[in-house]
């Protein structure tokens, strides 16, 4: 009871400079860890948000599958290279037109390249692509097909790991991601029959791995795009292999359903500890007025 008479003892203070009437290992339960704070910037992610986020990964995964499918159809001669080239280029052109219009409307202040500059870039690419496709075609010709496929798998995995999904993280590296994808496409190009086929594949790779992320970023990784890509991939894949399309569906369910559900369920276990011992952050370290 508080009415009971106690020895007059000054309350413990969290200071070092005064000798206090307490042993050194005394812990005042009222003051101890008073400044501890948990999950300061915690923002609960809803299931819908988690699924939307996961669909960004899926979208990139679908584009990779699309590229592999195009290669598969070309190497087995199920499709004319011309159709692939014109089909993809037509799509790219539509995307380009949309991008130009959208870009001029949304951000008029940002300086953009002139149309002439863009056309010059395309012409340069076509000319150099045609010139170097025989070289690129035979570059990895002597390597065995198994090695090529393993290499392609690893490189595309790297591409997916380092791809910029719109989250700022130390992992993200656009250059590693793009280089890995281009390396994979050069590997695959050597399995095709002619230099022209190789040129087509490299053009498609450029459109898929270089141009499409720019457009998709502008579209904010729209879900409709994900659905279109899914239908496209699944439609072609089911004609190639039943097992593969089953695995494909499994990945889709895993990434876009199971993982978000687990994430949402386990986020309440998040337990970040903050306190006076944390290093202070200098906000204006990079823009010191010299």
């Amino acid at each position: 009871m508080s009415t009971r008479k106690k020895r007059p003892k000054a309350p413990w203070k969290k200071i070092l400079y005064e000798k206090q009437d307490y042993p050194d290992n005394y812990t005042d339960q009222n003051i101890f860890l008073k400044d501890l704070r948990k999950n300061v910037d915690f923002k609960e992610v809803s299931l819908w948000e988690a699924c939307l986020g996961a669909s960004r990964l899926l979208q990139e995964f679908f584009t990779v599958i699309l590229f592999i499918l195009i290669y598969l159809y070309m190497v087995n001669k199920w499709v004319e290279p011309g159709i692939v080239l014109y089909g993809m280029s037509g799509t790219s052109f539509l995307g380009f037109v949309f991008y130009r219009i959208d870009f001029t409307n949304s951000a008029p202040k940002v300086k953009q390249h002139s149309l002439g500059y863009d056309i010059r870039t395309i012409l340069t690419f076509v000319a150099f692509g045609q010139l170097f496709s025989p070289v690129l075609h035979t570059l990895t010709d002597t390597i065995s097909t198994d090695t090529i496929y393993t290499m392609t798998f690893i490189m595309l995995l790297l591409h997916l790991i380092f791809f910029d999904y719109g989250v700022s993280s130390a992992m993200v590296s656009k250059s590693i991601s793009l280089s890995a994808a281009m390396f994979a496409s050069i590997c695959l190009a050597s399995r095709l029959t002619s230099a022209n086929d190789a040129f087509v594949l490299l053009t498609v790779a450029t459109q898929i791995f270089v141009l499409s992320p720019i457009l998709r970023k502008e579209l904010n990784h729209n879900v409709i795009l994900t659905v279109i890509l899914f239908v496209l991939d699944f439609g072609f894949l089911i004609q190639v292999s039943f097992l593969m399309s089953f695995l494909f569906l499994f990945v889709v369910v895993l990434v876009n359903l199971i993982c978000p559900v687990l994430f949402v369920r386990y986020q309440k276990l998040k337990d970040n500890i903050y306190g006076p011992w944390d290093e202070a952050v200098v906000n204006d370290a990079d823009n010191i007025v010299l």
């Binding site: 050194d24 501890l36 011992w277 290093e279 202070a280 010191i288």
Partner: protein
């Protein structure tokens, strides 16, 4: 056993010791000196520094073992836990050590010796000198390692109450087993000398390593702004480090060559000569467990302006320090206040300041409180191998039990190969004990 039963034989272990310079090194040396004078036997164990290998004696016969172990990273040895068993065991037995006192969470050698000490039935004490966050991956790993290491440690010492909270959270130690014993400052070698001060100008002194953690980015910004606002202010900056270019650049850009003096790295004994010239001591650390520098500044009678981070708010009473948030505008406000106080003559007498700091912090007091810890620890029951394994189960890293078991087996092997009875007992250094009451 030497003389009375209350004297202990203590082995200080750390990767950081003279000729390296810093807070931990200073702490070990001063604490050892005080304990030696009180009649305890103290040895220091550290790794070799260039040609400093073997045994050296320092002031008052402080015996230092520089073990021939290669440095692995950041002045630390590679934490193999088992490779140096033979050597460390030999030294511990040879010196009849009763208490192992490890210093600094970064020091792998300290953790290694503490593990071995536990297995040999020697009591262990650990002093934590630094603070850690919990947010990033490297912190998570080091915190887990600390938890493993402290699982069977007898007692921990922290340098501030914030440090204690941090250690209890990181190492999951019982808070009764953690004592708070602050660092101290040799106030005799940090005596003020107002005659050295410039009467026409206000001198702001900064003494710190020039690294990110010490807030050099803040200092750089402040130098520019304060020099613009007050024409009579000059800066004296002692210390060196990777961020020195930032200060040089701001000095260059603003044309402050005559008002901002960069002295570079100084010997600890020379710091006094810089401090006595100053009116205001500025500390912009981003994290700090105790901060020796502000106490040294206050001891020299300077008005201290410091960021309110880590254990700093506990260190000095309100009238000796101006605490601010770790941002440029807050620090500028703090300096404004300090400069206004100086101009209005509202200052604490430097000599009174020195006397007060001496009352707050001195090594005699630190060593007395550390002795209390030693006393508690030496009364505790020695844990056997089984209990030790059991203690380590709580850390959750069960593979570590294998490491302990392996270390135990290696020790048993050496017990057979180099039996205890064949190890010579080292003779003790006799020092003149004029200060010790018999």
């Amino acid at each position: 056993m030497i003389e009375s039963s209350k004297c202990h034989t203590i082995c200080m272990v750390s990767d950081f010791f003279f000729p390296n310079m810093g807070g931990v090194e200073e702490h070990i040396f001063n604490l050892s000196q005080c304990l030696l004078i009180k009649g305890h036997k103290v040895i220091v164990m550290t790794h070799s520094y260039e040609d400093r290998i073997g045994i050296r004696y320092m002031t008052n016969g402080l015996k230092v073992y520089y073990l021939p172990i290669k440095v692995f990273y950041n002045q630390c040895v590679l934490p193999t836990m088992i490779c140096n068993i033979a050597l460390i065991r030999y030294i511990l037995l040879r010196e009849e050590i009763e208490i192992i006192h490890g210093h600094s969470a970064f020091s792998a050698l300290a953790h290694e010796a503490m593990l071995l000490g536990n297995l040999l039935g020697i009591k262990t004490v650990f002093t934590d000198h630094s603070l850690f966050g919990f947010a990033d991956a490297s912190a998570l790993i080091t915190n887990k390692l600390l938890q493993i290491s402290l699982a069977s440690c007898n007692h921990c010492i922290c340098v501030s109450h914030t440090g204690k909270e941090n250690t209890v959270l990181r190492g999951r130690v019982d808070c009764k087993r953690v004592s708070v014993i602050p660092n101290a400052v040799d106030t005799f070698s940090f005596t003020p000398d107002p005659t050295q001060r410039d009467t026409t100008q206000i001198t702001i002194v900064v003494v710190s390593r020039l690294v990110y953690r010490k807030g050099v980015d803040l200092t750089a910004q402040i130098i520019g702004d304060i020099c613009e606002k007050y024409k009579e202010v000059q800066f004296l900056i002692a210390g060196d480090g990777p961020k020195r270019w930032l200060l040089e650049e701001i000095r260059e850009k603003r044309g402050l060559q005559d008002r901002v003096v960069l002295l570079g790295s100084l010997e600890h004994s020379q710091v006094l000569n810089v401090l006595v010239k100053g009116h205001i001591f500025l500390n912009t650390s981003l994290t700090e467990a105790y901060c020796m520098a502000i106490v040294e500044g206050a001891s020299c009678g300077l008005k201290v302006v410091s960021t309110k981070v880590g254990g700093i708010p506990e260190v000095l009473p309100e009238d000796l320090i101006i605490l601010t948030e770790p941002t440029v505008p807050a620090l500028l406000d703090g300096l404004d206040k300090a400069i206004q106080d100086l101009k209005n003559g509202q200052i604490v007498c430097p000599y009174a300041c020195n006397k007060r700091v001496e009352k707050y912090y001195n090594w005699q007091d630190v060593s007395r409180r550390t002795e209390t810890v030693y006393k508690i620890v030496s009364k505790e029951k020695t844990i056997n191998f089984r209990q030790m394994l059991y203690n380590h189960l709580s850390s959750g890293v069960w593979p570590y039990l294998l490491v302990i078991s392996l270390a135990f087996l290696i020790l048993q092997f050496y017990e057979f190969w180099v039996p205890r009875k064949n190890i010579d007992i080292a003779k003790n250094y006799k020092i003149k004990r004029k200060n010790v009451q018999t």
